[in-house]
Amino acid sequence: MSDELKLVEAAKRGSVDAFTELVHGYREGLFRFLQTRCTNHADAEDALQDTLINAYRYIGSYDPRWRFSTWLYRIAIRNAGRLRAENLAELGEHADDSADPLAHCLAESERDNLWRSAKRILSDEVFTAMWLRYVEDMSVRDIASVLERSASWTKVNLLRGRRALEAEMNDTAGTTGSEAYG
């Protein structure tokens, strides 16, 4: 049995320490990802907290045939989506869903970050697929599982996202970037 599975088993028996150790390696990446999905820093913090609480509460339902990160990201995406929907419902027409959530967590000198462009030109799902592929090194199968999509959809949209970002990266002559892919 791997160390991760031992920690999962201990967490299932109610060990907070084991769970904390289990998620320690994923926490930073998860928070980084959530900052791209939430509308502000506070929401990203709430989403991270909710994700870890839900993961601990329902760890009994975790199937070890899947990667733990796949399961964790699935919960994170749901929590981020729920928070965003709550924000929209609460603020109504005052909610600015198109606001750039990455702006607050990037230094001024690093504002030409490609993920900001990705956020602008890709749909949420394609953005997530690209993130899971290129940052989290997930397989197409795992990404499809996280997004609850088919492997074919995932492959096609990874390719589309890739082409769009390559064009964005190479395009120096003022791209409007209004076209959404996926």
């Binding site: 907290q49 009994g60 990705a118």
Partner: protein, 137 residues
């Protein structure tokens, strides 16, 4: 690793993802306040298989009983027409109420015929009113 992949990874690492000590404490406190739902609890919350079997059988039995009762009471004789007293619902003041005892019509003829009859009735009523009031409608 190609240029795009390395750029994406590099740019992702530039995003500040420092979990503050305050958030860390908050998460820790929340985790200590809850317990994972055990497999036993989940099983207990679920209905046993016998429950679904019993409810399915009850449903099927009830459906069969209703079909049987309907078949037993069903006969070829036409049901008697309900008798409707029209005058009871009319207002008592001003308009003389005719105590009509009407039987509900059985729509055996096509709807077109019914429509023609109604139009004829309307025309007759119109002529009657014209005669009484002596004005053109």
């Amino acid at each position: 690793m190609d240029k795009l992949a390395s750029k994406l990874r590099e740019d992702a690492n530039r995003i500040d993802a420092q979990v503050s000590a305050q958030l860390d404490n908050r998460i820790r406190a929340s985790l200590n306040a809850i317990e994972p739902e055990s497999a036993l609890q989940r099983k207990a919350a679920r209905r046993p298989v016998s429950f679904w079997l019993a409810s399915s059988l009850t449903g099927i039995t009830a459906a069969l009983a209703i079909i049987a009762v309907l078949n037993m009471t069903d006969s070829n004789e036409p049901e008697p027409m309900p008798r409707t007293v029209v005058g009871n619902t009319a207002p008592a003041v001003g308009i003389p109420v005719l105590d009509l005892d009407i039987e509900a019509a059985t729509l055996t003829s096509p709807l077109a015929r019914e429509l023609e009859d109604l139009q004829a009735d309307l025309k007759k009523a119109e002529e009657l009113v014209r005669g009484d009031v002596r004005i053109d409608l």
